[in-house]
Structures are given as structure tokens and as C-alpha cells.
Subunit: 136 residues, 4 copies
């Protein structure tokens, strides 16, 4: 799935480039967009009584980006075993230069923050994630 | 009341100076510290069933600051009429250069977000705010 | 001029709404977009040897917004006297609820940060700003 | 080396906890503090003509933290081979609960962003890093 983010001035730092912490925010931004596009916006997850917080991140900052760059973010389901969900991300500049690659891992919790078995608590969502893994 | 904030690298922008949006965050940071110091940390306000969100801001960016600058923030109650609470802020560099002056206005709401009369809902807090206004 | 911003999860706070500091960032976001649309992206200003930093802000937080809200930001030139440039902003939710109104004031500096007379240093840009003020 | 960060209100999100992207900022905050304490503040690195940008991050979000928590961040040099510098981080709440563990990797570049051999360009700094690795 493809998502675009334009680098904002407030996302740059005194080296003149995007501050690295923003890529973590863009991972979330594109993941939120991904889930909405496959029919599972955050609201629907919440309505079904669960959330899927980040437990791990791996980030590789390949090349810098800067103010006004249009970044294309490719997001997909890398793995899903019914307990841990892994997304992978690639971010590119318009000329195809890869600026970032990364992964995020997510668990499943109910709205009190207790871990739940995704397969039991939200089988429909799990099915969709498995389908996405196939098409990647 | 005095509070110190060290400018972080992630708070700078590509002009090489502190991005102006961060001063708004430091206003909150020093206000939170002010309220804790006068015995009314946010938790206590919440326990008493209310919050005091920002309704207005006025900011004057006087001089730039940058990475690693130690900013001293002076915060005080400027006005309090039982409905609207106004804080004022002055931020300085170690050499006394004023970098920022500003004001924030706050209303009072219950935890469902409905406006309340502070004087009735939290007389003790109001008394303390009036005392602070005197000593300013 | 109209610009859209979708509220991100990382822009919310523990009250469940958009943290107020983000509106200041969206003012910049929409101003950058405005300048690009009238033919004066930041890069062009820089190429001509000047910048236009924020010197003052006035913010009125009218109603809350929250995660996934699509905010429409209306930005226009309110005043321009050849020295100080004032933008005004109105932000609305899709149902027309106004969530924010504000103003930003800007001076003109060269790339070393020294104040310059805009009328002399960049007459073309000034002419465009005056035209925008008319059409507002 | 030990560094303290108090969780700010603007660092929380609508789940009521610290937004995960902030831990990445705190890694930088504590690393900057670490380098200053061992006699190599960023300014000194810059004066010697180089910088040490982040190339990789690994983050493990162990437990949530929230507004007003005092986080103690332990930072140390994990590895340094003369080309790649690895820091490791552990973040704890006052009761000893570990909330975060992570690593950052850094390369060395000159002020034009070209990769340099640290051992040749800044032998004194490299010596100090090796000493820190020993004492960890």
C-alpha cells in the first residue's frame, strides 16, 4: 500500500535534514492509512474492543530527506502468526532514492491494556491481515 | 516561578534555531511545573474532577535560541477572575537575553469537557491562584 | 487558500484530543502550502536571499479536534505594510465546526538573520502579497 | 551514564500513555548528555569538523510510561570498531520497572555529510569512546 507524506519545515533539524524521529511517526501515519484502506480503521478496532500497540521497531536510515520532499511510503504486512503482527516499510523520494526501511511489531491488547489472543478476539481482522500478507 | 529547559537537538529546525512551535510546548512544561510547585499537580486537579485547558495563546518571539541553550522560564498568574485564568511567561538565555514572552488563557471544564464555574467547583485551587496573583 | 490536514495519532494527547501545540505546526504547514501555491515556495525566497520568520502568534482554540479528523485550514494575507506580514487562519472540521482561529506575524530577514526592508529586497514577492490581500 | 527525563503532557497520546516516538527523542537527549559528560559535546565534534548521525535504531517498548513519570535513562557505548559506534539504552521508572531498551548505531561524516574514518579524523574522540566501552 502506498502513502505520501510531504516533509514539513518543523520536521527538519539544524543539520538541514529531516530529524530521524519523524520517520517513526511516518511509519505510524502510513500504518494508520494502510489499516483504513483495508477496512480496519482504528475506530473499528476500538469498537471491537482492542488495540494493537507497537512493541518493537527497527529503523534503517539509508539517505537523508529534507523540507518539502514528497516521500512515498510503501507499507505491508510482513508476518502475522496470530500473536505478533509485523509491518514493513520502505520510504522513497520521487527520484526513487530509498531514504528509509524499517519494521514495526505489534501485539494485541484489550482496551484495559491486557494482552489478548487476536485469533479469538478478532478473527475477521486476522483473516484480513493474512490475506494482506499473501498479496504483499 | 522559575523552570529550566535545555534546548534539544530535535527541537531545532533547518534555520539552525529552535522551531517556534516548541516554545508553546515549553509554556506547558513550565506551567505544569508551576502548578506542581504550588501544590496543584495535574493529578490533583483531575482527582477533584476538573481540568484547565488552553483556550488562547499569545506568543512573541523576541530572539532566537538554539541547541543546548539553557532556557530559564519565568511563569506567573497574570489574572484570574474565577472564570478565565491567565498565565504569563518570559523565557531567557543565561546571559539574560529575552527570547520569548507570552500568555496563555485557560477555562475550567469537568472531565467530560463541560465548562464549570471554578469558584464553585474548586474553591481551594482558586484561592491558591489568587494568592499567586498577589505575589507575582 | 484551502489546505487539508488529517489529525495523526501522534498529535493527540491523554485528554483524547489534538494537543494544542500542533495547531501552531498546522499554521506553518498551511502557510508553506499557501506560499507554494502563489508561486513563492520557501526555496524561491531563499534563492532570493531572504526568509520570513514568525515574530508573533495569536491562537484561539475554539473547539477540540481529534485523531483522524480531516481539518480544512483557510489561510490568507490579512495585512502587509512592507515591513510586517500578517497571515490569518481558520480551521474547520468537515461538518463546518470551527476548531481554531489564529494569526501569525512575520518579519523579513536576510540569510544571516539581519532584518531587511522587504519592499526593496524582494519587490516581486511584496507585489504578490498585496495582490493576495486584495482577493482575500 | 544516567540521565533523567520527566514525561511531558505533550508527549502522551490518546491511549493515555507516552507516544512511542518520544523514546527515540529521549535516546538522543540522553546520548547528547552522555557525550557532554565525557567531554565531547556536539559543539566540540562540530569544531573538529565532523558529526555522528544515526544510521540504525532498535527499540523494544517493554512497558508503558505516562505523564509526569520520571524516567531514568542509562546510556552506554556498546560497541565501537572505528567505523560504526553503537550506543545502548535502558529506561526505567522510579520503582525500577524497565519501560524501554534500545540501541542506536552511528556513522561518522564530515560537515558536508561525506563518510569519514573516525580513527583518522578524530583519534582523541575514538580513544574516549573505547575507554567508555571498557567501563560500561
Amino acid at each position: 500500500m502506498e502513502y505520501k507524506h510531504v516533509v514539513q519545515y518543523y520536521e527538519t533539524d539544524k543539520m538541514g535534514i529531516t530529524h530521524h524521529s519523524n520517520y517513526v511517526r511516518w511509519m505510524e501515519e502510513s500504518r494508520v492509512d494502510f489499516l483504513a484502506k483495508i477496512g480496519w480503521p482504528f475506530e473499528r478496532l476500538e469498537q471491537q474492543g482492542f488495540a494493537s500497540p507497537v512493541t518493537r521497531l527497527e529503523c534503517k536510515f539509508v539517505r537523508p530527506s529534507t523540507f518539502a520532499d514528497v516521500i512515498t511510503i510503501y507499507t505491508q504486512v510482513k508476518e502475522f502468526d496470530g500473536v505478533i503482527l509485523t509491518f514493513e516499510y520502505k520510504m522513497e523520494k520521487p527520484d526513487g532514492t530509498v531514504v528509509f526501511v524499517g519494521e514495526s511489531k505489534h501485539c494485541f491488547v484489550n482496551l484495559e491494556g491486557k494482552p489478548i489472543r487476536a485469533d479469538r478476539a478478532c478473527p475477521e481482522f486476522c483473516e484480513e491481515l493474512r490475506k494482506q500478507k499473501e498479496v504483499k
